[in-house]
């Protein structure tokens, strides 16, 4: 009997998710022993045509990381959907738009003008911009089109499961693969991580005071961080209360506050709004001016609270929300 076929694909991502697969270390051998990897452009030589040649649903499971922000990524996502039984949205960018999703704060023209003209290191006197079609002596050269907004994977295709994290923790990946191979699957649409917030089993939970109350927040660089004490209790913007657990406190153990890459629990619709309301709840001030001052201690609120989830937030973007292709 042939082994199940699996594949990995990347869209708008940094490559960290691919690294997470490699981080499986020896476990990757078990995976390889159990499955055939039929598509993994980052690591192995496959072409789009190889996928096109496959029968529909031939791939058992495809793990797609990265956000969707170009016509090419969209095409590949649609193609892989057609060829796969299970599509697993892999990592924060695919799950919630991720850090690329913060581009939704700006218009496409502004992004292009920054990158191709006004950026500090750019010299482009003719303001040459990438074109989808360019006439060259050999004929017409094409490039994918950059979309107006960044999308999460499930905003463009039907997704079966989500593996959260930036990148997804090794343990969750192993559990997910095991579940897929054993057929012991949760209901469609599930996020393959525990459905509780990070504080639940936090190594620092015992040091959490009964009442969390602060006059202001600190950035990690502003204070000497106690390596034992609850980070939120120290006035750091630790988003553990808002964020799904399952990362094994990688940042917390590194003495850094949680930034929320695992996304919200299943019961929360808008991660950033919850994060903002949770952190604002901790401010123990009554005077409006003082409150304003205290909130001013949060530098870049959108980048802090919507770091990974702006594209899937209720706001989606600073510009129009429909289409965007």
């Amino acid at each position: 009997m042939s082994k199940p076929k699996i594949g990995f694909y990347w869209c708008a991502s940094c490559g960290g998710c691919e690294e997470a697969i490699v981080d499986l270390n020896e476990a990757v051998l078990d995976v390889v022993a159990a499955v055939d990897i039929v598509f993994w452009p980052c690591a192995m030589d496959f072409k789009k045509s190889d996928v096109e040649a496959m029968a529909d649903k031939e791939i058992t499971a495809i793990f797609i990381n990265g956000a969707i922000r170009s016509s090419e990524q969209f095409e590949m996502a649609e193609l892989l959907r057609k060829k796969s039984q299970f599509v697993i949205s892999f990592g924060s960018c695919s799950h919630e738009g991720g850090i690329p999703g913060l581009a939704n704060l700006y218009k496409k023209e502004d992004l292009l003008s920054t990158v191709y003209s006004t950026a500090f290191s750019t010299i482009n006197p003719n303001y040459t911009l990438p074109q989808t079609q360019t006439k060259v002596p050999e004929g017409i050269a094409t490039l994918p089109e950059l979309w107006e907004t960044v999308k999460s994977l499930d905003q463009v295709i039907d997704v079966d499961y989500f593996l959260p994290g930036c990148p997804p923790p090794v343990k969750l990946v192993v559990d997910a693969v095991t579940a897929l191979l054993s057929g012991n699957l949760p209901p469609k649409g599930a996020v393959l991580a525990p459905d509780k917030a990070l504080c639940d089993d936090c190594t620092r939970k015992a040091t959490k005071p009964e009442k969390l109350q602060h006059k202001r927040f600190y950035r990690p660089s502003e204070i000497l961080i106690d390596p034992e004490k609850c980070l939120l209790a120290q006035g750091l913007l630790c988003l553990g209360p808002v964020t799904r657990m399952g990362c094994d406190w990688a940042c917390i153990n590194g003495n850094m506050p949680c930034t929320g890459c695992m996304g919200p629990t299943s019961r929360v619709r808008d991660y950033g709004a919850k994060a903002l309301s949770a952190m604002a709840s901790v401010i123990d001030l009554n005077d409006e001016e003082e409150i304003q001052k205290s909130m001013d201690s949060i530098v870049d609120p959108v980048g802090t609270f919507y770091r990974y989830s702006l594209a899937t937030s209720q706001l989606h973007s600073a510009i129009h929300t429909n289409g965007g292709k």
């Binding site: 799950h95 599930a190 996020v191 959490k208 969390l212 299943s266 929360v268 619709r269 709840s281």
Partner: protein, 746 residues
Amino acid sequence: MKDQHVHHFEHTDVKVGVYVCHCGINIASKVNVHEVVEFAKNLPNVTVATEYKFMCSDAGQDIIVQDIRSGKVNRVIVASCSPLMHEITFRNATQHGGINPYFFQMANIREHVSWVTAEKEDATVKAKALVAAAVHRVSKHTSLEKKYFPVNPNVLVVGGGIAGIQAALTIANAGKKVYLVEREPTIGGHMAKFDKTFPTLDCAACILTPKMSQVRSHPNITLWTYAEVENVSGYVGNFTVQVKHKKRYINADTCIGCKACVDACIGPENIPDEFNEGLSYRKPVYMPFPQATPSVVIIDENSCYHFTKGGCPPDFSSKNGHLSPQLQSLLRRANECFELRDFQETLKLTKEILKSSPEHQETLFLHAQTLYQLGMINEATEVMRNVMVKERCVAACPKGSVDLYQTEAISEIQVGAIIIATGFKTFQGERTTQYGYKRYPNVFTSLEIERLVNASGPTGGEIVLRDGKTKPKSVAILHCVGSRDLHSNRYCSRVCCMYSLKLAHLIKERTGAEVYNFYIDMRTPGKGYEEFYEKLCHENVHFIRGRAAEVTDWVLSKAELGKLVVRAEDTLLGMVRRVPVDMVVLSVGLEPQTDAEEVRRKFNISCSKEGWFLERHPKLAPVNTFTDGIFLAGACQGPKDIPDTVAQAGAAAAEALALIDIGYVEMEPNTAFITEENCSGCRICVALCPYTAITTDPVKLISVVNPALCKGCGTCVAACPSGAAQQNLFTDEQIFEEIEGVLEYV
């Protein structure tokens, strides 16, 4: 976030009945009710949609009952007025029909639509949207049950003025146990200071003191004076209250009020007497006033020598007087032993002498002095200690009630209801500097005059100037001092006009002086009040309509020499007047107690912006607070005269009785709850809860809502970062469904 909001709207078993009310023409004149009904018929799961002139009438309710009973509907929407008006009515009808009352949802198309929308068309669209929202929402409703908690039958009354006294007696007479806590050494409050009460001019003491002694002797009342509520926890029906007994230095249980200690006290006698507004003086040990209840003295540690100097000084002036033969022999033996340098024996005898006759400290002091001169320092000290230790009051007390080493004590009590009757304070006259209080000696506050006219006051009822002897020949009474004034309090203090009239009458009666009332408006609403004013008008009392501008001693004519001149615009004569008088009385207004904010916090109730405790509803719940089980009586809720205070105290007592008599409290199920398996124990909610209903489970380290304390405000639900906190009747699912309902059809 992906694995949620998968809506299973098609509940095949849900059958929604929509009943649109005309409310006479309140709704029907603005909303096209028929159109709304036709619209509702096409909404998902709606099986019945109909209209009726008054849904709240018996006939209207019966339509719902019959539709439920005949199986046509199992969810009910009434589009009518506000939930505050009739939610209970329709919930009851729903229950009467035979289904859970919480399968009902109200769409408010009167207050939210017909009353506030100009165009009929707009109003109809809005009404449809709200009906659609309710239809969507109600399919997500679940069956809920009210909760019941037992009620402790005891009541705490805080404050022993006339309000607290009345409330305590009413409840005690109903056979319930009452704890009455008063922070002053005696109950009676402000009323105990008054001579007469308006408008009947009956003697305040005559009507108050019998009530005070009833409180003292009532078997159902535990009276704690000179005590304060330290901490309140718990919830309606089950409050735990800690009461701090302040250091009175007298055992209140054994003191019989004989005042032997007061007579014996050799402490300073020039301490301003608080009860007499500082118009007379008292000793460090004193009885606040003759009818003080309980009749127990108190020692003021700020002036008593024991605390200020370490002990009573020897009293050389005291005479040996007639000595009993036994004492004579003791003294003789002590002297003999002393001469023989048998100091141990001297000491022994010294103690015996002290025990039977403290006046002999003089002898002992001389012994000590000699010992000291002989260089026997230790022995001298020992004798001196014996001399000093036995303070005059300790020695004089026949009951051994003086306890100069008394410490604060805390009593913890359990009560089901609390009545707050902490009263008011009067406006400080010196704050209106233009009237010269504390600058001109003969400017008095009304409360000072109350003491002066009082037969048991510092002058025995003589109204005299600050020199203590001169009777005034002319008196000005300035109304609205600290009331109706943008610089101090904007509100009317309600009682000042009437008590000013009363004082005018009493001053006129006692001194025959010319009395001038400077008033803005004469406010005399109340039974017999206007008649009292009428009466005063015929008593040759002058009324000058105009707020006094200032009181000055800057005289402009011979007639004003040595007088205080009140300047005011007489708005009836249309001219500025200067009225020279001997005495000025400031009719000071009423203000919240200085520590009202602290008390508010302690009991978790609200204050108006002036600082008066806030009633739940000015008309429909005037003695209730926003905290269930805590009621208000008297002037702590706002300025009030005695009749109103007593009436309100009775109402508060009735409310408390209604709560404790039934034996349990019924709680609406719209409380928050935290799903254990979803809570990470982040504690964001704990500090936020305004009712301290959330605590951390010490074992599971997750947050837990006490449903008895929860008021269903939803703060924790909104703040919960992981969606573990939810609220019955306001689950995320229900709210989103409602929003979708609104948006889908407009």
